[in-house]
């Protein structure tokens, strides 16, 4: 059985925590500030003001500093519920390193959740039961890594009860990625989108006359790739990634880009507390 996480990585992850609400760069900043010596000994979460919030919880200093109405909310106690949606489409399985990195991220997030007494659920083709134990979670991830079949097309789970925290790990190589982002946002209170891409997807090593085959639709296109086309591809890629980031922000979702070659600590630096 493949070992997705090493012992050192597992030990490191057990000391981490997950932000359950208001996951945003500003929120993370405030939480970290509180953990590093805020006004209260209790860890608090600083999140944007939402309709219905008690105005007494408005942190005026942070509001003035961030130019946005911010409210301070005590971190919820444990016993939270997290749902991880794993994209197992052919594009994710095309590069074995990419698939391995995706499972490592999924396993790491589950380890953090279960080590803090939370439950974690993996949505991979079918929803799994909530896991509370770390070893069982790791066994699930290992099994998926080694034996999970390739799904022909990814489908975002719909009509599922909302959860406190949901993480979608995907490369977003879907034509309807914007629609799926909306569907994902409706299933959770706090959402995080982890876009996992390999270096060959960012700068494709293609040159000359090539026939490109879509890994999901098997559609073929023949073209001549030269330096000019590579440059235009880079521009299109940047535009596409920028659009995803903008859409996540509009939907109140966190966005994290992870390269296949990145190590675990670097990849989850902005996610874990």
């Amino acid at each position: 059985m493949a070992q997705l996480l090493s012992a050192a990585e597992s030990a490191w992850l057990t000391r981490m925590q997950l932000p359950w609400q208001g996951l945003s760069p500003h929120g993370l900043y405030a939480v970290r500030a509180a953990r590093q010596g805020g006004r209260s000994n209790e860890p608090e979460l600083l999140r944007p003001y939402q309709m219905g919030d008690d105005v007494r919880r408005v942190d005026w200093a942070a509001t003035q500093r961030l130019q946005h109405a911010m409210v301070r909310q005590p971190l919820p106690q444990s016993q939270g519920r997290m749902r991880i949606v794993l994209d197992a489409s052919p594009s994710m399985r095309l590069d074995p390193a990419k698939w391995h990195q995706a499972l490592r991220i999924v396993a790491a997030l589950g380890v953090v959740a279960t080590s803090n007494g939370d439950s974690v659920q993996l949505w991979h083709e079918h929803p799994s039961p909530p896991y509370h134990r770390t070893d069982a979670w790791l066994a699930l991830c290992d099994g998926i890594y080694t034996t999970a079949p390739i799904t022909h097309q990814f489908a975002m789970p719909t009509h599922v009860p909302q959860t406190q925290l949901a993480v979608w790990c995907s490369d977003l190589w879907h034509a309807d990625w914007a629609l799926q982002l909306v569907q994902f946002a409706t299933t959770t209170q706090t959402g995080l989108v982890i876009q996992l891409l390999s270096a060959a997807e960012i700068v494709p090593p293609l040159y000359g006359d090539v026939t490109l085959i879509d890994s999901e639709t098997q559609q073929e296109y023949t073209m001549t790739v030269d330096a000019a086309l590579q440059s235009r591809y880079q521009a299109a890629f940047t535009t596409w990634q920028h659009a995803i980031r903008h859409e996540c922000r509009r939907l109140g979702l966190g966005y994290l880009f992870v390269a296949t070659e990145a190590d675990l600590a670097t990849a989850l630096h902005e996610v874990l507390l």
Binding site: S91, D209, V210, L212, D214, L229, R232, A236
Partner: protein, 588 residues
């Protein structure tokens, strides 16, 4: 520019075309699986092309490859640049040795040679240039790269044979310096040695006169054939054929058995052997085997000698030249070979008749010679033996001989002419060759001007010539000897341009220093040349243009071999590169 191995282009040109097509044809697109086409779809309409060809990328790499293959193919095809610089050059060499004077039913041999040379000139292409050379003992360049055919015809008509023997062996070395790679060489000669000489394969040898020339020396008859010598050896003892069958063997001058010989006893004549020689050595000795030798006298051993002149010094000896000229008028078909050594001038017939005249060089080594003596009266000599006398019909009792040298007759001398002071002339058979040696100076005596002197010459010639030729000269025939009344001062021009005055003193022979390389000129006649460097020995040699000489003859074939290997390696490299590219794309 032309190419000697033009067949290389039959390979190189299709290769160049294939390389260009290979690079211009659009290769089959390689297949790649990508996660999604959504980004490529935005660009695909700009890059789709259905043309079967595409511009090579980078284009200059294709040009460099084509240039490399072209250069290698040119190197392998052995280019000849000389053909571009010079048109067809034909070198005509006419043998002017004494044998070319032979008159045959079709005319004299020299006339035949002139006619053939004229035909060669007339049938040559318009842009052809000609060089005309005559070859006898020396090589004379009459015209070098001449295009005026009228003047060339005049030069050809003026070619006359000289009373010297031919030495065609110096021709290849001499022509190697002047002959371009596109030249054609026509050699018109009757020299039987042509067949065995190491001529280049592309020389055109035109035989003049009879096909064969017989040589008969002491019972040996050799016939020069196209590939060697085919001879009949007849062993005689005192003129009587040896009746008992014997075995013979041929040895060279070092007494080594000449094994490249076919000796076949003739069944019908047991005393004769048929000998076929391939590449005969300079000196060949036919002798009986030891078990048969006791039946013959040693003097009857048979020698065949291919005489190679090895002159060391040159003597201005006008009287002796005229003496020999007179002899040659008497015997016009004699081929004479001069062999000059430090001690004497030996004029010896090569084969046709056993004629030999040995004249000691006067005062050549004065300290070791007997001082000249003054003889008031040359007394008739006392002749011995049964040979013809030298003083028959001659009244030379009152002849004045101012200077003479006392000669010591060797053991083979059979008759001599002497005074009270000693022997002044003798005659005999030296190794079977009739030889007459004079010891008195003709210039310092009135003997040549006396009516008896031609008779003395006749006596000498009749002694030297075989009986069958004696009828050609009888007493009373006119023998023209135009001797100089007195020695004239001569001006010697050395190759360096320096001039020296030569006085023909009391002696008949004046030796000039010819240690410098180049041609020497005495008075108005080119007489001598450097004998140490035969290629420079030219008479009437103009100043030709510097011929093209390849300093390192191994460089051209080595370059061709290297170019061929590079061509093969280049082809293999191109194929390997293509294969690797195809394989790597497959792996990708």
């Amino acid at each position: 520019m032309s190419f000697r191995d033009s067949w290389i282009w039959w390979i190189a040109i299709p290769l160049l075309i294939a390389m260009a097509i290979w690079h211009l044809l659009r290769p089959r697109a390689t297949r790649h699986i990508v996660p999604s086409l959504q980004l490529w779809q935005q660009l695909i309409h700009e890059q789709t092309s259905t043309r079967p060809w595409h511009p090579p990328t980078p284009w200059w790499l294709l040009v460099v490859r084509l240039l490399i293959v072209t250069v290698l193919a040119m190197a392998a095809a052995d280019p000849t640049v000389a053909a571009l610089a010079t048109p067809l050059h034909r070198i005509i060499i006419i043998d002017t040795s004494a044998s070319m004077q032979t008159i045959e039913p079709a005319g004299s041999r020299i006339a035949q040679a002139r006619q053939i040379a004229t035909q060669i000139v007339a049938t040559s292409p318009p842009a052809t240039t000609f060089s005309l050379l005559t070859s006898d003992r020396d090589v004379t360049l009459h015209a070098n790269q001449l295009s005026d055919r009228n003047y060339l015809a005049t030069l050809i008509d003026a070619v006359q044979p000289r009373a010297v023997a031919g030495d065609v062996t110096v021709l290849p070395a001499w022509l190697a310096a002047m002959r371009g790679r596109t030249s054609e060489v026509f050699l018109l000669s009757d020299d039987p040695l042509l067949a065995s000489a190491p001529w280049p394969a592309d020389w055109r040898l035109i035989a003049i006169g009879g096909v064969v020339a017989n040589q008969s020396i002491q019972g040996c008859t050799f016939t020069a054939g196209p590939t060697g010598w085919d001879g009949i050896i007849r062993i005689e003892a005192d003129g009587i054929p040896f009746a008992t069958a014997r075995t013979i063997e041929l040895v060279d001058e070092n007494n080594r058995l000449y094994d490249a010989t076919t000796v076949t006893p003739r069944a019908d004549a047991p005393v004769e052997w048929r000998v076929q020689l391939t590449d005969p050595p300079p000196l060949l000795h036919v002798r009986l085997t030891p078990d048969s030798r006791d039946a013959l006298v040693s003097d009857d051993d048979c020698w065949w000698q291919k005489t190679t002149p090895t002159p060391l010094r040159v003597a201005v000896y006008p009287q002796m030249d005229r003496f020999l000229a007179a002899a040659l008028r008497v015997l016009p078909n004699v081929m004479v070979t001069n062999q000059i050594t430090d001690a004497e001038i030996v004029i010896q017939t090569d084969a046709t008749i056993p004629l030999s005249v040995t004249v000691p060089l006067w005062q050549l080594n004065a300290p070791s010679q007997v001082p000249p003596v003054r003889l008031p009266v040359l007394q008739p000599g006392v002749l011995h033996g049964d040979e013809s006398t030298l003083d028959r019909d001659i009244a030379i009792a009152n002849s004045q001989v101012l200077t003479t040298t006392i000669v010591q007759p060797p053991l083979w001398a059979q008759t001599w002419l002497k005074s009270s002071a000693g022997v002044h002339a003798y005659a005999g058979r030296n190794n079977g060759v009739a030889t007459v040696v004079f010891g008195f100076a003709l210039t310092n005596s009135d003997l040549p001007l006396r009516p008896d002197f031609p008779l003395l010459v006749r006596n000498v010639l009749m002694y030297l010539a075989p009986p069958r030729l004696q009828a050609s000269y009888q007493t009373g025939d006119a023998v023209v000897l135009t001797l100089a009344p007195r020695p004239l001062p001569r001006i010697q021009a050395q190759p360096s341009g320096a001039r020296a005055r030569i006085l023909l003193r009391a002696t008949d022979v004046v030796l000039i220093d010819v240690t410098q390389v180049g041609a020497y000129r005495v008075s108005d006649t080119w007489v001598v040349a450097n004998l140490l460097a035969p290629a420079e020995s030219r008479v009437n040699r103009p100043s030709p243009a510097t011929p093209l000489v390849i300093a390192t003859p191994w460089l051209l074939p080595a370059g061709i071999a290297l170019g061929q290997w590079l061509l093969v390696l280049g082809i293999l490299g191109l194929c390997g590169e293509r294969w690797l590219t195809w394989r790597l794309r497959r792996v990708t």
